[in-house]
């Protein structure tokens, strides 16, 4: 299987603090990480490769030069090859434009690497949180998709995905080439080995700029051509006025809660 994994560099949203005066996010000093969902996608690809070592894993990331860090991390974990897609022209793209750029980059990379059978994405990036880029890449390429994947495997020549659904999971068979997006599975993704880490640090990561994508339509990229615009952002208000119950004993507290809930008609 020839696989391509889309990875994004994101701020660690658990480390984000709010500026209490300006009421905005403080992004300075927040560490940048490999989007956790993308590490699940990478793990899914690595598991396919474990079973069939002739498989290859290529990773791509659109972002600034510093985003090479997540590509190196992906190389250290499991990937064979990495490309950075970078350019001012791409800045400010919403999901429709981002997915278009990524799909054009994929087509360009296929000219040297050959056609990919499976394109793997995270379910969502923990900063933008839209979960739209994966399905939109699939649509730009005209491929079928399975979202909310937990695991993928190849059996009897068919790609099968374990998909999370409301009451458990389903095994879905899908035609290739295809796009799969991944959510958190029950297992942890593997760690890089020291040897792979050292090799990844030395790896040469080609950069695809706007001019390296001759087929891309400049009218379909960037802030200017994005259909959605962020009009404003604000920090959500905290709810106040909650009632705290702390009686002498747990029994009294529980009974008081029961009374309050009954009076408020919530139970």
């Amino acid at each position: 299987m020839k696989m391509l994994v889309c990875v994004k560099q994101v701020p660690d949203t658990t480390e984000i603090k709010i500026d209490p005066v300006k009421n905005t996010l403080i992004r300075e000093g927040v560490p940048s990480i490999l989007n956790p969902f993308d590490s699940y996608a990478l793990e899914a690809a690595a598991r396919i490769k474990d079973k069939d070592p002739s498989s290859t894993i290529t990773v791509i990331c659109m972002g600034p030069e510093q985003a090479k860090a997540v590509l190196k991390e992906s190389l250290a974990i499991a990937a064979d090859k990495a490309y950075l897609i970078s350019g001012r022209e791409f800045g400010g793209s919403d999901t429709l434009c981002t997915s278009y750029i990524l799909s054009e980059a994929i087509k360009e990379i296929e000219k040297t690497e050959g056609k990919f059978d499976i394109i793997l994405c995270g379910k969502q990036a923990i900063d933008g949180d839209t979960a739209q880029v994966g399905p939109e890449i699939a649509e730009h390429l005209g491929y079928p998709q399975v979202t909310y994947g937990l695991e993928a495997f190849v059996e009897d020549g068919m790609v099968k995905v374990k998909k999370e659904v409301e009451d458990g999971a389903e095994i879905i068979g899908i035609q290739t080439p295809c796009v799969l997006t991944f959510t958190k599975p029950s297992f942890d993704p593997r760690f890089p080995t020291i040897r792979r880490k050292m090799a990844a640090n030395k790896a040469n990561i080609p950069v695809l700029a706007f001019t390296d994508l001759p087929d891309i339509d400049p009218e379909k990229i960037g802030l200017k051509h994005s259909p959605t615009h962020v009009k404003k952002t604000f920090v959500p208000q905290k709810k106040t006025g909650g009632i705290k119950i702390q009686e002498e004993t747990a029994e009294e507290s529980a009974k008081k809660l029961f009374t309050l809930l009954s009076e408020a008609h919530v139970i």
């Binding site: 979960a131 409301e166 309050l260």
Partner: protein, 334 residues
């Protein structure tokens, strides 16, 4: 695409038995206001199989028009069939705006449809309005794991589309049925559907975990201490007819399956009542449950962040509090 009407569409997702998923009916409530503000009609779009129940429910909740695509290939959701059907309806009728419930299927379908139509899509909205300056829909949504809210416009592309989180809006009062019902025959051949369900695996504890439609959720976190610690949580859920949820810490520890997880990497829920037991209330957990109508927290740490968003909080040991609370409710309901 150019819009042909000022209509506001609500996609009403159906279950396999042809009934409507709650969120589709819920969205008719804000849909009414937005359609009126846009100066167009409110249309419900029902796709499924044997959908009479869904059509009638949409009719009783204020739709002016219901567009129905009903046939066997839509019984179970597939990305390919639903995208073909919804896109051809949009192309034929040209609505100004459209909402899709942000269920797993809705978030699978929305980007596919928006991309085929080359228009914008706002994800997982929790508030809706009409922007005064432009008259466009102002879609408001959480990002950065719930740390930031963003208001988004789609000023020049049609339709303006958003997925909207279940449970944020309430179903309206039932009214007289008045909708014009339009039936469309759109058929998708088997070879146009490129995925196929091969096997259905039930959840490990063999219970249906439908958190998104639950009216009451009782969740346990790391504070329950182990798999057996979920017993008092389950007991309370049982007397309340509630669904059991959990934090990620409890899932990661292997005490309960991921299907129960609430939060950024789990389910987003908005029940009438959410009872968090032994959950600290990390921002990623809050991202999945802060839209609940009433939040109750039981935690022994008085400074736990969950108390910041709780309507009622007990500072105490869950193993002491839960059995008494369960017993009180049992007595009251007996």
């Amino acid at each position: 695409m150019v819009n042909k009407t000022k209509d506001f569409w609500v996609f009403v997702e159906t279950n396999e038995d042809g009934t409507a998923k709650n969120v589709g009916i819920e969205l008719l409530t804000p849909g009414r206001e937005l359609a009126d503000a846009q100066g167009g009609r409110l249309a419900a779009v029902v796709i499924g199989c044997n959908t009479d129940a869904a059509v009638s429910e949409a009719n009783r909740h204020g739709a002016d028009q219901i567009i129905v695509v009903d046939s066997e290939e839509y019984r179970k959701y597939t990305t390919d069939a639903y995208t073909i059907a919804l896109v051809s309806l949009v192309e034929k009728y040209g609505p100004l705006s459209m909402m899709i419930g942000a269920t797993n299927n809705g978030r699978d379908l929305g980007p596919r449809v928006a991309c085929r139509l080359q228009t914008g899509l706002t994800a997982d909205c929790t508030a809706l309005a009409i922007d005064e300056a432009t008259g466009k829909v102002a879609w408001t949504r959480p990002a950065f794991g719930g740390n930031l809210m963003a208001t988004i416009l789609c000023p020049e592309h049609y339709p303006q589309i958003g997925t909207v989180r279940p449970g944020v809006f309430k179903k309206g009062e039932e009214t007289e049925e008045k909708a014009e019902i339009i039936r469309e025959e759109i058929h998708v051949s088997a070879d146009q559907i490129r995925t196929q369900v091969l096997e259905i695996l039930k959840d490990m504890d063999d219970e249906k975990v439908d958190l998104e439609n639950a009216e009451i959720i009782v969740s346990g976190g790391r504070g329950v201490g182990g798999p057996e610690g979920f017993e008092p949580v389950r007991a309370l859920a049982k007397v309340l007819g509630a669904t059991v949820g959990s934090s990620r810490a409890a899932v990661d520890a292997g005490w309960i399956s991921h299907a129960h997880q609430v939060g950024q990497t789990g389910k987003t829920v908005a029940p009438k009542l959410y009872i968090a037991c032994g959950i600290s209330g990390a921002i990623q957990h809050q991202a999945g449950m802060s839209g609940s109508d009433c939040i109750v927290a039981i935690n022994k740490d008085p400074d736990a962040p969950i108390f910041d968003i709780a309507d009622y909080g007990i500072v105490g040991n869950l193993f002491e509090v839960l059995p008494i609370l369960t017993e009180e409710i049992r007595k009251a309901r007996a």
